[in-house]
């Protein structure tokens, strides 16, 4: 049984974007969001797998999930501050 994807307030499809694109797009989107809003970024970049969690931790937000899909991952983040 697979858990359904977490619903978010904003989703960014960065699958056409090459590293460091997806991380940059996430940072920009988080900056434009309000505290407690949930965002998801879709990335095909393998670097995102380590970069996004590292940035989320450094910036003081919350990584809610990393959902694996066919050829890409969906990183779900909550803006915590």
């Amino acid at each position: 049984m697979t858990t359904p994807p977490i619903t978010v307030d904003r989703e960014i499809d960065a699958r056409a974007s090459f590293c460091p694109g997806p991380l940059m797009e996430l940072i920009r989107a988080v900056r434009e969001s309000d505290v407690d809003e949930r965002l998801a970024v879709l990335s095909k970049d393998p670097g995102s797998r380590t970069d996004i969690p590292a940035w989320v931790a450094k910036a003081g937000h919350q990584l809610l999930a990393v959902e694996d899909n066919e050829g890409y991952a969906r990183y779900v983040v909550r803006k915590a501050r």
């Binding site: 590293c19 991380l23 940059m24 940072i27 910036a59």
Partner: protein, 135 residues
């Protein structure tokens, strides 16, 4: 690490790309980054060089050309665009080396607007707080 200085000497597309990506990672992680543009790195930031396709390093011959093709096919963002992303997400500053500016008869007005000022090497060195990377 909370402070990084990049001496950007090289002006080939591959090395500029590496410098830009490094700056973007630093910027994303809250590391204040100062880029000291000198020689070919400075040359790449001239207003009249804007948008010009730069070559890959000659050291790598045909491999470099193949790499350039791959980057284009996979939609890799160009080095200038990545520097823009870095500046957008964090604290990134660009300084022009006065020696090179003087050699090439350039003024700040000849440079890309991201270049903040012209400084001498002693000023650069005295401003270094953390690691220095030479690219």
């Amino acid at each position: 690490m909370d402070n990084l200085s990049i001496v950007l000497f090289s002006g080939t597309a591959d090395k500029l790309q590496a410098a830009a990506t490094l700056a973007s990672g630093a910027a994303a992680m809250g590391v204040e980054t100062n880029v000291f543009l000198t020689f070919w790195g400075l040359n790449a930031f001239r207003k009249d060089m804007a948008g010009k396709a730069l070559p890959m390093s000659a050291d790598y011959g045909q491999d470099a050309e193949n790499m350039a093709k791959l980057m284009q096919e996979k939609g890799a963002h160009g080095w200038y665009e990545v520097f823009g992303m870095a500046k957008d997400v964090g604290d990134v500053h660009f300084h022009a080396c006065s020696h090179t500016m003087d050699l090439m008869d350039l003024t700040l007005e000849d440079m890309d607007p991201v270049v903040e000022d012209i400084i001498g090497v002693a000023t650069f060195v005295s401003g270094v707080e953390g690691q220095v990377v030479f690219i």
